[in-house]
């Protein structure tokens, strides 16, 4: 019994080592690539030997199983095996050399993984480069190895493979005029597996199309934009047909356009910018490497991709459309759908949760890019005051600070952190007066993380209850609202900044978990920026929802669905991503949980399962309860639409998404406002094509005090999920 997972690991790790060259873990694609590698039988054999050597060594030495399974340790060795195997005649001596070369490549892989991990960069095929250069240069002294003549006599091989018909087909294809560039495209694709024939290229292209439409279209775009650049600068493109380096453009395009960056118009644009650079680099490196008489192989691809990903990572403001992927999904499409359509909360996952620094309802009198003082470097700040129902900030005449509703109100820590700066000796101004000498008045700056500080200003003299260096928890009382500094009337100035000084430049950063109140209508915001004149308040959570929707790893859930019974367990992976796992049916629903709520991010498995139903019904639920509020979000369409229609969508997905699945949740009722036993919610998923709703599904959800979750849908089907309590020992 124990052998089974080992066989599975073995089988997956071998296949994935093939597909991983295209950043894929698709089994069918891997199978095609495996076949392609065997178009040259001996190269195929040596490739496979290399993969096995690397993967078995990785397993024996005890590396992370998932990485082995994903083929991350195998693909570089595979390339070295293929590249070496195709040059030399098969022999025992060659086998020995290749095994050692695979070992060397594997060690380099591990070393580079460790090295690049510090920069959160991939090692791509650099281990292959170092490995194959080492072998090629060394073999000049290995007289026992004889050069192979196989790939020179293409017809012989084709005949051996497919008889006369294949040779004819090949001839016919070669003789078609005007498809020169297309032929080179296929040759370049085949060259990735060291196959210098068009058939290999065609199989790989089909496999690529099957695996990902975006990757396929990127391969086309990458290749032809390089082609046009060659035309432009007058270089000889046909040289690519026999130099094995045309694939650099294809791989660069796939990596930059869709794999390491979320596919989008912008990523496509940058791909187009990067390809001419790759062409230049290819040409210049080619000259350098002729000195040692070795090929540059995928060196330009490696340099350009690593350079560009690193450049992207060092950006200060990362929140525009060009987003580098942190955890990568199986295909560029999934990267895109997950990013584009997952809940706002998931998109904002990397923000540190900073709450409003007060309790109760406050009005924004100046927001970002304010009319009075929030300008230029200090434009990302807010001013808050308290107003009454008539919009007045004060009682009586408003001539004295005391009459202002917000004056002397406590200010709370917006998030946990160390107090990095304080000033507390500036007296309050008289109403209407301002202190231009000490602009910021009494202020507190708190450090929440590296390059992340908040500043609260215009506090009351002597009211600050903390000291520099203190650690404050979220919600601790810090001081009282005053009227010091550039403050004609009492208010709170709040800003987020990257440096620890009072009056630092502001940072465009959102605030976490607040509600905007309009005429008894509430809008829940998970991460957002309050706007001018909005009435905002921090969200108070609902204990029942908080309890029922708290899924910590290790928690077990008993699931009943129309008599049937299963068990779910909450687990987390090495990236600290949590998921609900159905042990029996092997379904996985990834989710993300924070103070504000729970958000599902991804689902793998049977779409008719209980877990998928649960995923749908509770896709995005807040842990607060404001009766009548509604929240909406979108779910990635590929979970809901059929494959043929998705096939079309995939091609244009980076530019326009016409298939949508929308999730809507309404917070219906509680049985008792103060001490409720349950909370009722209603969710709805609709499938939309070009803004037309074609299908709707509603779920009535009840969350109980005990932690039980009940979902009713379609004619009284009931799914009930209860936490399993561990008996006390």
């Amino acid at each position: 019994m124990k052998a089974l997972p080992k066989i599975k690991l073995f089988y997956s790790s071998v296949l994935n080592s093939y597909s991983q060259i295209f950043f894929s873990e698709n089994k069918l694609f891997a199978g095609l690539l495996l076949i392609v590698s065997f178009l040259d039988f001996w190269a195929g054999i040596f490739g496979l030997i290399s993969v096995l050597t690397a993967n078995i060594t990785a397993n024996i030495l005890g590396y992370y199983k998932l990485s082995i399974k994903k083929g991350l340790y195998g693909f570089n060795a595979l390339l070295v095996g293929l590249g070496t195997g195709i040059i030399f005649k098969p022999s025992i001596e060659l086998t020995v050399v290749i095994i050692f070369a695979a070992l060397l490549t594997f060690f380099i892989t591990i070393a580079l993984e460790g090295f690049f991990a510090k920069y959160a960069l991939p090692y791509l095929s650099i281990p292959f480069l170092l490995g194959i250069w080492a072998v090629i240069l060394a073999t000049k002294d290995f007289s026992a190895l004889g050069l192979s003549e196989r790939s020179i006599y293409t017809y012989n091989e084709l005949y051996a493979l497919g008889g006369k018909n294949l040779v004819n087909l090949y001839d016919w294809f070669n003789n078609i005029q005007g498809f020169q560039s297309l032929k080179i495209y296929f040759l370049s694709l085949g060259a990735i597996f060291f196959q210098n024939n068009i058939l290999a290229g065609i199989i790989i292209a089909l496999g690529l199309l099957y695996y990902s439409r975006i990757a396929f279209s990127l391969s086309v775009i990458g290749f032809w934009s390089a082609y046009f650049f060659y035309q432009l600068i007058g270089a000889d493109f046909s040289a690519l047909a026999y130099t094995f380096i045309g694939f650099n453009y294809i791989l660069t395009s796939i990596a930059v356009g869709g794999y390491f960056v979320i596919p989008s118009g912008k990523s496509y644009f940058w791909t187009l910018i990067l390809l001419p650079i790759t062409v230049i680099l290819t040409a210049s490196l080619g000259h350098v490497f002729t000195v040692w008489q070795i090929s540059i192989y995928s060196l330009p691809f490696n340099i350009i991709v690593l350079l560009f990903i690193y450049v992207l990572k060092l950006r200060f403001n990362k929140h525009n459309k060009l987003t580098d992927t942190f955890t990568r999904q199986a295909t560029p499409e999934q990267n895109l759908y997950l990013y584009n359509t997952a809940a706002e909360e998931f998109k904002n996952k990397n923000f540190y949760p900073i709450n409003l620094p007060f309790k109760g309802d406050w009005t924004v009198t100046q927001a970002h890019n304010g009319k009075y003082t929030h300008k230029d470097k200090w434009r990302h700040a807010w001013d808050f005051v308290i107003k009454d129902d008539e919009g007045k900030q004060y009682s009586d005449t408003g001539d004295f600070c005391k009459e202002y509703f917000c004056y002397e109100k406590p200010v709370y820590a917006p998030a946990g952190g160390f107090v990095s700066e304080i000033s507390d000796n500036i007296p309050d101004n008289k109403i209407g007066d301002i202190n231009t000498e000490q602009n910021w008045g009494n202020s507190i700056v708190i450090k929440h993380g590296e390059y992340l500080f908040t500043q609260i200003s215009h506090l009351k003299e002597g009211s600050i209850k903390i000291k520099k260096g203190d650690y404050v928890k979220k919600g601790d009382i810090l001081a009282k609202v005053g009227n010091s500094g550039h403050s004609p009337y009492p208010h709170i100035h709040f800003q987020i900044q990257a440096t620890p000084y009072i009056g630092s430049e502001t940072l465009d950063y959102p605030i976490h978990n607040f509600i905007v109140k309009e005429e008894k209508k509430y809008e829940l915001i998970a991460f957002g920026k309050p706007k001018k004149e909005q009435i905002v308040a921090s969200v108070t959570s609902e204990k029942i929802s908080e309890h029922a929707l708290h899924f910590i790893p290790g928690k077990k859930l008993q699931v009943f669905f129309n008599e049937a019974e299963t068990e779910w367990v909450i687990q987390k992976d090495i990236l600290n991503q949590t998921y609900i796992f159905d042990k029996k049916n092997k379904e996985t629903a990834y989710f993300y949980e924070n103070d504000a709520g729970i958000y599902f991010t991804n689902f793998y498995g049977n779409k008719k399962s209980e877990l998928f139903l649960f995923f749908n019904a509770l896709y995005n639920v807040r842990k607060s309860f404001y009766k009548g509020t509604k929240t909406t979000s979108t779910i990635r369409p590929d979970l809901f639409f059929s494959k043929p229609i998705m096939f079309i969508q995939d091609f244009i997905a980076p530019f326009y998404i016409f298939l949508k699945s929308k999730f809507r949740l309404e917070y219906l009722a509680k049985d008792d406002d103060f001490a409720p036993d349950f909370v009722k919610l209603k969710s709805e998923i609709s499938k939309v094509i070009f803004n037309r709703v074609i299908n709707k599904m509603t779920y009535d959800i009840i969350l109980y005090k005990s932690g039980k979750i009940e979902i009713r849908f379609k004619d009284d089907n009931i799914l009930s999920v209860e936490p399993i309590k561990k008996p006390l020992n």
Binding site: D361, F405, F674
Partner: protein, 449 residues
């Protein structure tokens, strides 16, 4: 043609030569000519003299001020309208619309709250007098019962055997907060361990749901400090319950007792200058709870049952002068049509009374009497008052609390109560009494017919 000057009778005033005293020169008395933009003249013409006037705008404003004072300082706050302060249905409903629960102290008030549309689970049932029937009804309705004494606790324990629902209870705690007099007649004492004893019995019995702790330290508290003492003591009880029974209470009810801006009899300075603001009370209570050992992630809801401070300012009495009279000692007196029968609070307060139209700056030390044929009917024993004539109108300010519940039908009939809504429309919310309505409940034995 200039307007004819109004006649004012001549008075003789002693000239005070030399420097002014510490109160400065005599100043002219302010006047109130309109309430929420409606002229007093018109109100009297439409609804008669005297009349009670309530301003909905003031009620809502005051409530929101109070709410704001607490919600900006403490995470979860719930007000409960103290019915006994003013249980006019219209008034109660305004508070309920603003989100207040009902706080009742008798079966009568309890039913009144239900009729006002308050769901059972939003009623707090206080007071020493709750009958067995009341307790059963409150339990079945899911109301919050604040136990006042051991006999009530025993009764509830026996009731809990029979009711479908478990009674949701809190205990009222009395304690030394450094004020005099200490209100020890309600609830269980903190210092002598009675409260802890009661809590232990409740939790040991396992028959009652202990949801809260309640105190009400006194009335017309002129300083906020005792509230922070009381809040700390309740918080300490809550923490002890958590430690011993692993039981978290849902709320801490600080009761009421906040002073309004009226001036108490015998006070040296006017109430509006000396009484604490909502902010001061809120700060005392919130700070004490936040600084206690209560788990900051599960702070109990703060309940407030303040009545007087929320409604006093919204109430006015308008009426007319009946007569002016010179007393035997030469002192001037004025008889108005508001008596202590309808202005019960004049036993406690030096009520602010103002003329309803412009007068000259001359004023005379005056005793203001009510219309009753009883010696105790004094509204103000000494006030510098302008020279009003018979038939002139006056306004008495800040009478919203307790008068419309503690008034009595004595000697004469009680007048109308008018509500001015937020759009300044007037509504009669209680008709004036008539002989018929007054005698409707009376029965005359046959032999007297």
């Amino acid at each position: 043609m200039s307007e004819k000057l109004k006649y004012e009778r001549p008075i003789i005033t002693k000239i005070n030569a030399g420097v002014t005293d510490k109160f400065g020169m005599q100043s002219k008395m302010p006047i109130i000519t309109e309430i929420d933009k409606i002229p007093v003249e018109k109100l009297i013409k439409d609804y008669g003299s005297p009349s009670f006037i309530l301003s909905e705008k003031t009620i809502r404003q005051t409530f929101n001020n109070a709410k704001r004072a607490f919600t900006t300082r403490y995470p979860n706050v719930q007000f409960a309208w103290s019915y006994k302060t003013n249980y006019m249905n219209a008034v109660c409903r305004i508070f309920h619309k603003e989100g207040s629960w009902a706080e009742v102290v008798s079966g009568f008030e309890y039913d009144k709250a239900l009729k006002n549309g308050v769901p059972g689970n939003k009623i707090i049932f206080n007071g020493p007098d709750k009958s067995k029937e009341n307790l059963i009804k409150a339990t079945e309705n899911g109301s919050y019962i604040h136990i006042d004494h051991f006999d009530e606790l025993y009764e509830l324990l026996s009731i809990a055997e029979t009711t479908k629902k478990r009674p949701k209870v809190a205990i009222r705690v009395n304690m030394d907060t450094g004020i005099y007099p200490q209100w020890d007649r309600f609830g269980f004492n903190y210092e002598n361990g009675e409260a802890w004893n009661a809590l232990n019995r409740i939790l040991m019995s396992k028959k009652l749901d202990l949801v809260g702790l309640h105190t009400h330290i006194g009335t017309y508290m002129m300083t906020p400090t005792p509230y922070s003492v009381a809040a700390s003591k309740l918080a300490e009880l809550a923490v002890r319950l958590d430690r011993k029974f692993n039981h978290k209470i849902k709320y801490i009810d600080m009761g009421g007792g906040f002073a309004s801006k009226n001036t108490l009899k015998g006070a040296y300075l006017p109430g509006k200058d000396t009484c604490p603001t909502f902010d001061q009370y809120a700060e005392a209570i919130s700070d004490a709870l936040i600084n206690s050992e209560l788990d900051p992630n599960e702070m109990p809801t703060l309940f407030l049952e303040t009545g007087r401070a929320l409604i006093d300012d919204a109430g006015y009495i308008i009426g007319s002068v009946l007569a002016n009279k010179r007393l035997a000692n030469g002192r001037r007196s004025m008889i108005i049509d508001t008596g202590v029968n309808m202005l019960f609070t004049s036993f406690w307060y030096e009520h602010e009374i103002y003329p309803a139209k412009e007068f000259s700056s001359h004023a005379e030390d005056t005793t203001i009497y009510g219309p009753l044929c009883m010696n105790i009917d004094v509204i103000r024993s000494a006030v510098k008052f302008p020279l009003l004539q018979k038939g002139d109108h006056y306004v008495i300010k800040r009478i919203g609390a307790y008068n419309m519940t503690q008034w009595m039908q004595f000697i004469t009939l009680r007048p109308k109560i008018i509500l001015i809504d937020t759009d300044n429309n007037t509504h009669i919310i209680r008709e004036n009494e008539t002989n018929e309505s007054m005698t409707a409940l009376e029965k005359v034995p046959n032999y007297l017919n």
